[in-house]
Amino acid sequence: MTTSALILLSYVLLAVFLLAFVLRSVRLARFPVHLRWELSPVPHEKGKGHYGGSYLEELEWWNKPRKKDHVAEITYMAKEILFLKALWEHNRKLWWFSFPFHLGLYLLVGGAILFLLGGLGAVLGIQGPGWGIFSRGIVVLAGGGYALGALGAIGLFLTRLSDKGMRNSTAPVTFLNLLLLFAMFATGLWAVLTVTGFAGQVLAFGGALFSADLGVEIAGILKAHFLFAFLFLAYLPFTQMMHFVAKYFTYHKVRWDDEPVVAGSKLDRKLKVLLGQPVTWAAPHIRADGKRNWVDIATDIGRKKEEVDQ
């Protein structure tokens, strides 16, 4: 594949990624509000989060101002995102591969930011004396990211293969995902180790992406690496690997969503709309006919009052 063809393909793959990523994220955000389903510990509970307590421990909690500890919540998430705290505490065996895998990805995201900024800088002609930091940064971040990612991906692949419990809930496609990621990391690592002027070629390719300069040429292994990387990006939103976005919702919108209903509030109004929807569940005791809404059926307890009184 020529570099120009790779650049054109990259545009397509990036477009697929952006579109699918946005659509899937929006879908997650637009779900209707649900019944409360919080789960302790809720870290934003000021003074209580550390032991799992909540405002429901307070007498007349509805008359007291809610005190939320946003710093504790952010700290909790930071530890989870950066160090995979839950896995460290509850599944140490997997952490040893999952952590380098994720750290590798984080480093590559850092490298990718430099790659894009560098590419943009090249297009705009901004290449001052301090510009060398981009080159060095890309080499360090990419090199570290590829090595850790490759180690993690192969470790996770082998763990899934050997652990009976994991094997049973792992679809063939998941193994393919890990192989794709390994291919991306391995080709990247190979390129770092073998391509002379790795950072320069990376920045040149980044610049070409911004300027649509189809005349740029890069090493074959780098082409293979960028191909795997963009294929992975385009594929990512269609997989469970989007859990890095889903995790915001599972934590903030489910586990930690402890907002009580206050009569007349915005939440109350939203719920009224939802309760006005027709119900079509078919079991006889529901007494739904497709026209009666949630309020109708929830207030119809079906008691034969006269019979009970008799």
């Binding site: 209707p32 063939p172 569940w281």
Partner: protein, 594 residues
């Protein structure tokens, strides 16, 4: 598979000496003989079973997720006592443990015990292949409704997140007391049920799901066996959500079990009798899942008041239907029948503290039970709305949840979002109120009266799900000099094994399952908490401030004879409070199994 590869529901079925009881069940007449157990120790039966399983599952010896649809299996994954998680002495000898009931052919006819040899609920038996097909199609229809905004706005977001983003890391497995207690049976792995569900959704609900289904993991067949085994499997989870708590992604396998139960109830009309007919329906029709109507409840409470006066010398008259009271106390009505000392103790405390309170004698208003929480959102909403409306009608300032975990969760949080507008009435936990009373100085206490080992069971619905952790502990630390925690405790606790309605479910051989498997981890925790004083002469108390937990713990202690062997009994929190009251001269706590 050949017909000769049939695995028995329990390895010991032939070894037992069964007698048939009136329910069509067979019950072991005693503990296994030494000879029988010796044969087991020699491994003959176990080896035979393992060999059989190897033929079925290949090298894995464990069922794969897709095997749930295999028609040729008598039992998908059998369970036997000798494979369960070991217990500490003196409960470590299998030959001394009570056996399990073997279901008679007659009892089996109305159920589907091909999952693990146990049955939690009767299942309607289709009379023709066409009817069977219709029921399977109805199940798919239910799955589609479960994923629709109109029919399941209540849990669509958390459910979708749990369907789409599990990475199968199995972190949840070690957190599950049923999986660990069973000796790590594959079908009890939290992800097993969820994976069946995911595969079915992927293949039969999502567009194009059958394309490359083996590659994407949607390699499952939908048939009568899949549906009925999945129904039973939905009732092998206590919905305690300990697995969800440990999941790095935030996936909730407990929620998936809950949502599956909803499909069966809300679409097919299938639910365990104890939860539906004798549960929510009875409560909505008569007033209580106990069957007590208002007249009976008032009579019973009057009797309890008299008994309390005889026992403590304190005169109380529990108020009913007092208008505009500060507190409307709603007990789990099961307490009134099974543990009358609990509502009795509540009345003593409320009266001695001089509170302005009442109970309701209106149907549903005297029973805080809401089994809808476990299996049916519509029934949940109906009962919660009725509770709120009764409180409003009486003009109560707030509703107080008695010592009942699922009542707390149903009324304080889960149903909160159907109690908007005019139905919005403040709700508070009795544990919070009790803490206020105990430390208010209105009642004089002598903690030395509670000078015996006490440990605390944390009801999942109050602690892990609501975050009410400390009030009950502050009371126990103050009133019980020998209070000690279980390990783990607080929000990390293990379920008692009776959660999600199991404590009241005893059909067929299900009690054996819930007591010996679902409660195994809790029983071990209890024994470990009292390990420093194991002798039966030292009387010990498990404080379980939840009616269902108490019921389950009672069954476990009885099953193992733990009062005689270890001196362990159980009860609620208010009993300990009254026992420590200076005004109460005779001990309020009795060291007996009740």
């Amino acid at each position: 598979m050949s017909d000769d590869v049939q695995v028995k529901s329990t390895a010991t079925a032939e070894e037992q000496r069964p007698t048939q009881n009136e329910d069509g069940m067979t019950q072991e007449t005693g503990n296994r003989s030494a000879t029988e157990m010796q044969a087991r120790d020699e491994g003959t039966k176990t080896e035979e079973t393992k060999a059989d399983r190897k033929k079925i599952w290949g090298k894995k010896e464990k069922p794969r997720v897709k095997d749930i649809s295999r028609k040729e299996l008598d039992v998908l994954e059998p369970v036997s006592i000798d494979e369960l998680m070991p217990l500490p002495p003196p409960y470590d000898k299998i030959e001394e443990q009570p056996g399990w009931k073997e279901m008679s052919e007659e009892a089996k006819a109305g159920t589907q015990c091909t999952l693990d040899g146990f049955a939690a609920s009767p299942i309607p038996q289709p009379e023709s292949p066409e009817e069977e097909e219709e029921l399977v199609e109805a199940f798919v229809s239910g799955l589609k409704k479960l994923l629709s905004r109109e029919n399941n706005w209540e849990f669509l977001q958390p459910l979708t997140l749990s369907i789409d983003y599990c990475v199968g890391c199995q972190t949840c497995a070690d957190a599950c007391h049923v999986f660990k207690g069973s000796g790590e049976k594959e079908i009890y792995r939290p992800t097993y049920r969820s994976e069946v569900f995911r595969k079915l959704v992927k293949k039969y609900v999502k567009p194009g799901g059958k394309i490359l289904s083996h590659f994407t993991g949607a390699d499952i067949d939908l048939n009568w066996e899949t549906v009925t085994r999945l129904y039973e499997l939905a009732y092998r989870c206590n919905l305690c959500r300990r697995c969800a708590q440990t999941c790095p992604i935030g996936v909730d396998n407990g929620l998936i079990a809950h949502e599956l139960r909803k499909v069966f109830s809300q679409e097919l009309g299938w639910a365990p009798r104890e939860l539906h007919e004798k549960g929510t329906e009875l409560q909505l029709q008569i007033g209580s899942s106990t069957g007590m109507n208002p007249v009976v409840v008032k009579d019973n409470i009057e009797f309890i008041d008299e008994d309390m006066e005889d026992e403590t010398g304190i005169h109380v008259e529990t108020p009913f239907d007092k208008e505009d009271a500060e507190y409307l106390l709603i007990h789990n009505a099961g307490e009134i029948l099974a543990w009358p000392e609990n509502p009795g103790a509540f009345s003593i405390i409320m009266e001695k503290a001089g509170l302005d309170w009442t109970m309701s004698s209106e149907e549903v208003g005297y029973d805080g039970v809401n089994y809808g929480l476990f299996y049916d959102d519509v029934q949940l909403a109906r009962i919660a709305l009725t509770h709120a409306q009764i409180g409003k009608k009486l003009g109560a300032k707030k509703l107080i949840m008695g010592e009942c975990g699922h009542q707390h969760k149903a009324l304080m949080t889960v149903a909160d979002r159907v109690l908007g507008g005019d139905n919005n009435i403040p709700r508070e936990s009795a544990l919070t109120l009790l803490e206020e009373i105990v430390f208010s100085g209105k009642i004089e206490f002598d903690p030395s009266k509670n000078d015996f080992p006490v440990t605390l069971h944390d009801p999942c619905n109050i602690v892990r799900n609501l975050g009410i952790v400390e009030p009950q502990r502050r009371i126990l630390r103050y009133l019980c000099p020998q209070f000690r925690e279980m390990t783990p405790h607080g929000v990390d606790n293990y379920c008692c094994g009776g959660g999600s309605g199991f404590a009241v479910m005893s059909p067929f051989n299900f009690t054996d399952w819930r007591v010996s498997i679902a409660s195994r981890m809790k029983f071990k925790q209890i024994l470990d908490a009292f390990a420093d004083q194991p002798e039966p002469e030292v009387k010990k108390y498990i404080c379980a401030p939840c009616s269902n937990c108490k019921g389950q713990i009672r069954d476990v202690l009885q099953y193992y004879g733990a009062l005689d062997k270890s001196g362990i009994t159980y009860g609620g929190l208010v009993e300990l409070i009254v026992n420590a009251m200076v005004d109460v001269e005779e001990p309020f706590i009795h060291w007996e199994m009740h």
